[in-house]
C-alpha cells in the first residue's frame, strides 16, 4: 500500500507519458516511441492503482482474470482486423470506453464508500454531479458509437433515418437529461439514476440515426471527444490526475479531428450533426446527366499512357479501400518505377472514410511515407505531371468545388487532377461518390475512364506494362 501522495505523483507521471504518446505522433519516426510511452503510462497507472488499494485478496485475482480475458480479446481483435476496417474498429472501441465509464459510474453510485465519496443515499454533492454527468455522457457515447459501428459495418443501412419532429424530440430529451441530473442531485434517488441512464442511452441512439453512413467518421470523432470528457468527469469524481489529463487530451483530440474533417468537406459541424445529408440527393443527380459521352478504355490503354509518361501522380480514394487494392497498386508503381517513371501519391485530407485512412493503407502496402504527399504539398505539381491515376476517388477531385457556388461541396479544397495532361479514373461505374454529386471530370477530353474493380484493374495494368 502506497501513500496518496506517492500515487498522485505516479498518476501525474502517467498523464505526462500520455501527453508524450500523442506528441510522438508528430512524425512517423518518433511515433513508435510515443506508443511505447503510452503503454508505459498505462502500466504505471494500473500498477499504482493496485498498490494504492493494497488489496491483494481474492478480488485481486479476479481483477487479473478480467484484465487477461479482456486483454486477450483486445489483442486478438488488434491482430486480426484488416486495415480497411479501421473506422468500424474505432467506433466499436469507443462504445466500449463509453460503457466502461457507465459501469464505473454505476459502481460508484451503488458503493460510494469504496471511492470515498460518502454513503449510498448520501453521496457528496460535487461527486454526484460529476458522476451523473460522466454516466450520461458515457451512455450517449456508448449507444451513439454502436449505431455508428452498425452503419459502418453495413449491418444497418447507411441512409439517414429521419422522421417528423425529430429535432424537437431530441431537444426535449436533452433538456430532460439536465432536469434529471438536477433532481438526482437533490434527491439522491437511485431510481432517477437508472432513468437518467436509460434516457441517455436513448438519446445517443436518436442523435446518430439521422446522420448518413458516410458522415460517421465525423460522428466517431465527436464521440471520441465525448468519451474524453466523460473520462475527465469520472476523473474529477475519483480525484485522479491521470484521468483528468487524459480526458482533456482525448476530448481535444476528438474535437480537433472533427473540425479538420468538417473543414476538409467544407461543411459546418452542425450541418453534419443535424443529419439528413447524402442519401436523397444521390438518386436525383445520378439519373439526369448520364447521357453525356465519356471516353472509356481498358488496362492496355492505361498501361500505354503510363509507359510513355515521365511522371505519374496517384490519387487514391475510398474505392481503393473497398477494393483492397493498395497492394496491387504498390506493385504497379514498382513496375512504373523500374521504367524510370517518377511516381508520387497525393492524399486529400478527407480521402477515404476517416482521417489518415489512405496513409495507413498505403503504409500497409509498404509504400514509403516520403512518397506520399498532402494536398498543399503536391497540388501545384499536377500541372507538370503527365498522368493522374485516380483510383477509387471521386469527390476529392471534383472541380465543381472550385467552380459552382451552388454545389454542396463548393469551397472544399480539391486535388487539381484536371491540370494533368491525362487523367485515368478507375471506378466501377459513373455513379457519384459519397457527396452524391456528378463529377464533370468524367466527361473531359483528357479523361479516360477505366470501369472495373480497382484491384482487378490495377493488376491488369501491371500485366500490360
Amino acid at each position: 500500500m502506497i501513500s496518496a501522495n506517492l500515487s498522485a505523483i505516479f498518476y501525474l507521471v502517467s498523464g505526462v507519458l500520455f501527453i508524450l504518446a500523442l506528441r510522438g505522433l508528430s512524425s512517423p519516426e518518433t511515433s513508435r516511441q510515443g506508443n511505447f510511452f503510452g503503454i508505459l503510462g498505462m502500466i504505471i497507472a494500473v500498477t499504482v492503482t493496485f498498490l494504492s488499494t493494497g488489496n491483494f485478496s481474492t478480488g485481486f485475482v479476479y481483477v487479473l482474470i478480467f484484465i487477461i480475458v479482456g486483454g486477450s480479446i483486445g489483442a486478438f481483435i488488434a491482430y486480426r482486423i484488416p486495415m480497411t476496417a479501421m473506422p468500424e474498429l474505432v467506433a466499436g472501441f469507443h462504445s466500449l470506453v463509453g460503457l466502461a465509464a457507465v459501469f464505473v459510474a454505476i459502481s460508484a453510485f451503488l458503493n460510494p464508500e469504496a471511492f470515498n465519496l460518502g454513503y449510498p443515499g448520501n453521496i457528496k454533492l460535487g461527486s454526484l454531479i460529476e458522476m451523473s454527468i460522466g454516466a450520461a455522457v458515457g451512455a450517449i457515447t456508448f449507444s451513439g458509437s454502436i449505431i455508428a459501428f452498425l452503419k459502418l459495418q453495413g449491418i444497418m443501412s447507411g441512409s439517414p433515418i429521419t422522421f417528423k419532429g425529430q429535432h424537437p424530440l431530441n431537444a426535449v430529451i436533452l433538456i430532460s437529461i439536465i432536469v434529471l441530473i438536477y433532481l438526482l442531485c437533490s434527491t439522491q434517488s437511485s431510481n432517477l439514476f437508472w432513468i437518467l441512464l436509460a434516457v441517455s442511452f436513448l438519446i445517443g441512439f436518436l442523435l446518430i440515426i439521422p446522420i448518413g453512413g458516410a458522415d460517421m467518421p465525423v460522428v466517431i470523432s465527436m464521440l471520441n471527444s465525448y468519451s474524453g470528457w466523460a473520462a475527465a468527469g469520472i476523473g474529477f469524481t475519483l480525484e485522479n490526475t491521470a484521468l483528468i489529463i487524459t480526458g482533456a487530451l482525448v476530448g481535444s483530440s476528438g474535437a480537433i479531428l472533427s473540425y479538420i474533417m468538417c473543414k476538409g468537406m467544407n461543411r459546418s459541424f452542425f450541418n453534419v450533426i443535424l443529419g439528413g445529408f447524402g442519401a436523397t440527393d444521390e438518386k436525383s443527380s445520378t439519373s439526369s446527366k448520364e447521357q453525356r459521352p465519356v471516353k472509356s478504355g481498358n488496362a492496355d490503354d492505361a498501361a500505354f499512357l503510363m509507359k510513355n509518361a515521365s511522371s505519374v501522380i496517384i490519387v487514391p480514394g475510398y474505392g481503393m479501400a473497398v477494393a483492397q487494392a493498395q497492394h496491387a497498386l504498390r506493385e504497379m508503381v514498382d513496375t512504373l518505377k523500374k521504367n524510370d517513371i517518377k511516381v508520387s501519391y497525393a492524399i486529400h485530407p478527407v480521402a477515404g472514410r476517416m482521417p489518415g485512412h489512405m496513409n495507413v493503407l498505403l503504409a500497409e502496402a509498404n509504400v514509403p511515407y516520403d512518397e506520399v504527399f498532402e494536398l498543399e504539398e503536391i497540388n501545384n505539381d499536377f500541372a507538370n505531371a503527365d498522368v493522374a491515376f485516380v483510383i477509387g476517388a471521386n469527390d476529392v477531385t471534383n472541380p465543381v468545388a472550385k467552380t459552382d457556388p451552388q454545389s454542396p461541396i463548393y469551397g472544399m479544397p480539391v486535388l487539381d487532377v484536371e491540370k494533368c495532361k491525362s487523367v485515368l479514373f478507375v471506378k466501377r461505374s459513373l455513379s457519384p461518390g459519397y457527396a452524391g454529386i456528378d463529377n464533370d471530370l468524367f466527361y473531359k477530353e483528357n479523361t479516360l475512364m477505366l470501369f472495373a474493380d480497382a484491384k482487378k484493374m490495377t493488376e491488369d495494368i501491371t500485366k500490360n506494362l
Binding site: S14, R32, I73, V90, A231, P355, P368
Partner: protein, 103 residues
C-alpha cells in the same frame, strides 16, 4: 487558508486542454488514424476506476452488485487498452521511409 483541491484539479484540467489542443494540432495528418486508435487506448485509463470498483467487495463476497459492474468495466477497458495499443503498434510499424537503395 486551505485551497479546495477541486480548484487544483480544475487548473490541471484547463491546462491539459491547452496541451491537448497543441499536441493534437502538431500530429501529422498522415498519422490521424493511429491518433484515433491511441486516444482510444489511453482514454481507457478509466480502468483505474474500474479496478477500485472491482476491489470494493469484502473478503466474504468478492462479487457484490457494485463490484460486478467494476469487473465488467475492467474487461471492457482491457479490451480497449490491449486492442488500442496493439493495433496502433501494428499500424505504426508499417510506416517506413524509402530504403536508400541507390547510393
Amino acid at each position: 487558508m486551505e485551497i479546495d483541491p477541486l480548484i487544483f484539479r480544475l487548473s490541471i484540467f484547463i491546462l491539459s486542454i491547452f496541451v491537448g489542443y497543441y499536441v493534437v494540432w502538431s500530429v501529422t495528418p498522415s498519422l490521424h488514424t493511429p491518433l484515433m486508435s491511441v486516444t482510444n487506448a489511453i482514454s481507457s485509463v478509466i480502468i483505474v476506476g474500474a479496478i477500485i470498483a472491482g476491489l470494493s467487495g469484502n473478503v466474504n463476497s468478492v462479487f457484490n452488485i457494485s463490484s460486478i459492474f467494476g469487473f465488467l468495466a475492467i474487461a471492457l477497458a482491457a479490451i480497449n487498452i490491449f486492442g488500442g495499443f496493439l493495433v496502433t503498434q501494428r499500424m505504426l510499424a508499417m510506416y517506413k521511409k524509402k530504403k536508400k537503395d541507390k547510393k
